[in-house]
Amino acid sequence: MREKTTDAATMLRSELNVVNVGLDIFYNALKLQNINVIHVNWNPPPKLEKETQDLLDKIL
């Protein structure tokens, strides 16, 4: 777990390290600009699992 807070001004002064979650066009665009990036090919959780999770959230 990350504990250190990097404030916005510090982040803007630092080298960008980006995780791209979703559309791969944005991953490609960041790579083209030589920005460090990891792509997550995101999929939604299965519907039943989300409902079960909501139920569990309520119970717990």
Binding site: M1, R2, E3, K4, T5, T6, D7, A8, A9, M11, L12, S14, L16, N17, V18, V19, N20, V21, G22, L23, D24, I25, F26, Y27, N28, A29, L30, K31, L32, Q33, I35, N36, V37, I38, H39, V40, N41, W42, N43, P44, P46, K47
Partner: protein
């Protein structure tokens, strides 16, 4: 055909649909889409049977194929399964990939920004966890409930985190573009924007004038409204204010709520040491007599005039350059456009604007709403004095359409990427004998269609032909938002549009004024239009 509980993102599906159309010449239409209400409606409009389509639910995939023979259908059905098994991969082999966010953060423990472009309903949970881990975010996703946005931004601001968005199409960090963005140079300007294509327009036009932007922080369109209270806008102003390399700060937005506007001006006046340009589109100009802070704040009415204002703040030499690159004098404009309106038939009374950029749609409504007679302008995303279209798929009188609105985009790629709906609409508008002007935007840059002009060029030519075959002339006025370093080719895009008979204007504001001038057959108070939307307030304008 329905594939139950099967997900691929809209961009992957657009690419699969394109590949499928090329599998056999016998295939006339192929659409592979998630079964959102938007996509189901579009398939029905394309002539597919509602009975099957309506059985599909949001989490299902729909495969719709029209072909002239069974062999082509069988071939397409086999191929689509193969394409879906191996969806297009990002990058070209050198990419870093992770199976989920946790794995990505483990792989890159010094991650300082996450870019989220996932369906809005899933944003809150993920964003919440990222805030707990102190990670800044740019949330491209739309359709995030405003209550969730408020919660996320309040939590983020308390921890000193940037929560850019939801609905933030673009940002610029150290001159580099995140999301939809253009290849610009870095420089002495900082921008806070609650208007995605507004930020692209201003950064691109500044780049054309030789002025660079260091940071352009997109906060999402809801931020300056009362419900969010400008939380991130004000945070971003503080950050830019404390950056020694930034000399001019521009705030680009639709008019904020009065309370938020008051806070913005108060911040700029009382804690600001920079020069400020407030570009609240349609929010009115401020002349120098109203400015009570040694000319440190300049309030303007359009994106184009904000570029002149930033240039003016940086010095008269910059303003001269900005005027030569982004501005056309009224007499020159009238000369060019007279050739257009003189060819219109008397029945051609209306403008149809088909926009991919939301801010461009908004700005066009402000300008045309002001310049054209009352009560005749419609939109699917109307501002105060504009009428609501009954059906977003069917224009009425003057219509200004935002193709990025939910009814066109839920479960589909943004129209800056997927040109399917605009192609269809260009032809539909051309068939209407009362239409005299088509107004189009073309947004270049990272994330956008690799050739937005080429993608609709056939339809532009066909639209001209449809009008000509009916004894009419159709005027097409366009604006290309981009820079010379954008991969799509800025000069080439303009040249192709000119060759197809389109008039290309240097800014969206000028394209909107031009449309009004053509449809009015030159009977427009051009001096007033220029003073309000295309120039600096009169007493600031002298070089």
């Amino acid at each position: 055909m329905i594939k139950p509980n099967f997900y691929r993102d809209s961009l992957q599906l657009m690419k699969i649909s394109d590949k499928l159309r090329r599998v056999s010449p016998g295939i006339s239409e192929a659409s592979v889409v998630m079964a959102t209400e938007t996509n189901k409606g579009i398939l029905i409009r394309l002539g597919f049977s509602p009975s099957t389509i309506e059985q599909a639910s949001d989490s299902d995939m729909l495969i719709a194929i029209r072909a002239r023979d069974q062999t082509s259908i069988d071939l397409a059905t086999t191929q689509v399964e193969k394409f879906l098994e191996s969806p297009s991969q990002p990058g070209n082999g050198d990419q870093e990939k992770a199976v989920d966010i946790e794995a990505a953060l483990n792989k890159m423990p010094d991650t300082n920004l996450v870019l989220l472009s996932i369906p809005g309903e899933y944003v809150k949970d993920i964003s919440h966890k990222l805030i707990e881990r102190n990670i800044h975010q740019l949330i491209f996703s739309d359709h995030v409930p405003v209550e969730d946005e408020l919660e996320l931004k309040t939590m983020g601001a308390a921890k000193g985190l940037l929560i850019l968005g939801p609905g933030a199409g673009t940002s610029v960090i150290n001159g580099k573009g995140i999301g939809f963005s253009n290849a610009i140079k870095t420089g002495p300007v900082g921008i806070v924007a609650a208007a995605g294509t507004g930020l692209q327009e201003v950064t691109s036009l500044l780049d054309q004038c030789g002025i660079g932007v260091k940071h352009g922080l997109g906060v999402g369109g809801n931020d300056p409204k009362d419900k969010i209270g400008g939380i991130m806008m004000l945070e971003c102003m503080k950050i830019l204010e404390n950056d020694d390399e930034i000399k001019v700060v521009a705030i680009v937005s639709k008019p904020p709520s009065p309370a938020v506007e008051h806070k913005i001006i108060d911040n700029a006046l009382h804690t600001g040491t920079k020069k400020y340009v407030l570009a609240f589109i349609g929010g009115g100009n401020m002349d120098s007599k109203q400015n009570q802070c040694n000319n440190m704040i300049l309030k303007v009415n359009s994106l184009a005039s904000s570029v002149l204002a930033v240039a003016k703040m940086l010095g008269d030499e910059h303003l001269r350059k900005a005027l030569s690159h982004t501005y056309m004098p009224p007499e020159g404009l009238a000369n060019i456009l007279q050739k257009e309106w003189s060819r219109l038939h008397s029945s051609q009374r209306f403008i149809r604007a088909l926009y991919t950029g939301g801010t461009f749609t908004y700005e066009a409504q402000v300008i045309l709403g002001d310049l054209i007679e009352d009560g005749l302008i419609y939109s699917n995303a109307p501002i105060q004095q504009i009428k609501q279209l009954q059906d977003s798929f069917k224009s009425e009188k003057h219509s200004i359409i935002d193709l990025g609105e939910e009814e066109f985009t839920k479960g589909r790629p943004h129209p800056m990427i997927d040109t399917t709906i605009r192609k269809y609409r260009i032809l539909e508008e051309a068939k209407d004998p009362e239409v005299g002007v088509l107004l189009l935007d073309f947004v270049l840059g990272y994330g956008a269609n690799p050739d937005p002009v080429g993608a609709v060029l056939d339809e532009i030519k066909q639209a001209k032909e449809i009008a000509q075959n009916d004894g009419r002339f159709l005027s097409i006025i366009a604006h290309v938002c981009g820079t010379k370093n954008d991969i799509q080719g800025y000069d080439q895009s303009i040249s192709i549009l000119n060759s197809a008979g389109c008039i290309v204007m240097p800014s969206n504001a000028m394209a909107a004024v031009s449309s009004a001038l053509v449809i009015s057959r030159g009977k427009l108070d051009l001096a007033l239009a220029y003073a309000k939307y295309l120039e600096l307030p009169h007493d600031w304008n002298e070089v």
